[in-house]
Symmetry: C2
Subunit: 169 residues, 2 copies
DNA sequence: ATAAAATAGTTGGCAAATATAACTATTATT
DNA sequence: AATAATAGTTATATTTGCCAACTATTTTAT
């Protein structure tokens, strides 16, 4: 039995996970010189959505909000972002890139875009379009199915309070 | 600013990561009744590749081999697999599903396949084919690019022994 | 207008995953 | 026979993921 079957029969969820691992491995290599070595996707998102609140980041990147607190704490500590209370709704905290954060984020965005451009370069445009469309549709479909509501505003109100087991690999 | 832009501009790596999170969240919900709540993708892989060695699982699922040791230890502890030394190459350990493991794995495979079937159901066959093809191509391309070689037999031999930073999100 | 519910964010803690170096045993290469 | 490579293991430290419980604020229902 060969140790590397060049594409094992796997679920689309598993294939997607592997793709993301390979992707972030390449990304972190190409950003070795930066003085931050994590949270690239969050900074990428902030570049397009500067000033959004924490929940917005969580919703869009499927990250737990309690984890997000620590991430933002870290990004503040290293001087990449500020956390500003929204005067019109004082529950919300706006996350805003600092001058330093903006500068470094520029490089991060470039690295992401370079990788995307590179790996899509040999794929016909119309196939890229279909690929992206299907990617969206699969995510939408999954959001409709019953899940362990980890992200997306899980409201823990009295009634449903059962053991919610992990969504691990 | 809406807290959920219904598809933010994101890299393909990030979209893939989100898809996988959504997927595993649904999967773990649908397998709540099983007496194992993790390592589904490994059991799925073993179902098709029963008796392969640990490195084979690592290579195909992009999992670090030191992590794999603990996973297999756990799967042995709960009676799902055995670890047998290959008499022809005593470095290798074959991982073999037990009777119990086979039975439970059947349900896991079914759950994976049900989800795949469900979420692909409304997508035209020819688009599915293109999607899968592109998925493979992207992974192949990524494997060619310089990466922090986390999986895939990283050989730590004297020469290259530099700080290899993380491939985190 | 007040009570109840929902939302945004926070804290602390534990289990799990990830990363890294150093290690044994075995086999392949020179 | 020496060296290198491969498969797997151990130990350790860090990070992440997940959950319960919490505060503060705003929205909804009565």
């Amino acid at each position: 039995m060969p140790t590397t079957t060049n594409y094992a029969k796997l679920s689309v969820g598993t294939k997607a996970l592997i793709l993301s691992k390979l992707y972030y491995s390449v990304l972190s290599k190409s950003l070795e010189s930066l003085d931050i070595e994590r949270y690239y996707s969050i900074l990428f998102f902030l570049n397009e959505n500067n000033g959004c609140n924490q929940q917005c980041i969580c919703n869009n990147l499927a990250i737990d909000k309690t984890a997000m607190v620590k991430v933002i704490d870290y990004l503040i500590k290293v001087g990449f972002v500020d956390r500003n209370v929204n005067p019109d709704d004082r529950r919300e905290h706006f996350i805003v890139l600092t001058k330093k954060g903006l500068k470094q984020t520029g490089e991060i965005v470039k690295a992401f875009e370079d990788i995307d451009r590179e790996i899509f370069s040999s794929i016909p445009k119309e196939e890229q379009v279909i690929f992206n469309k299907v990617m969206c549709q699969l995510s939408s479909k999954l959001k409709e199915l019953p899940a362990n509501d980890l992200f997306f505003n899980y409201k823990q109100t009295a009634k449903k309070r059962k053991k919610v087991t992990a969504s691990k690999v």
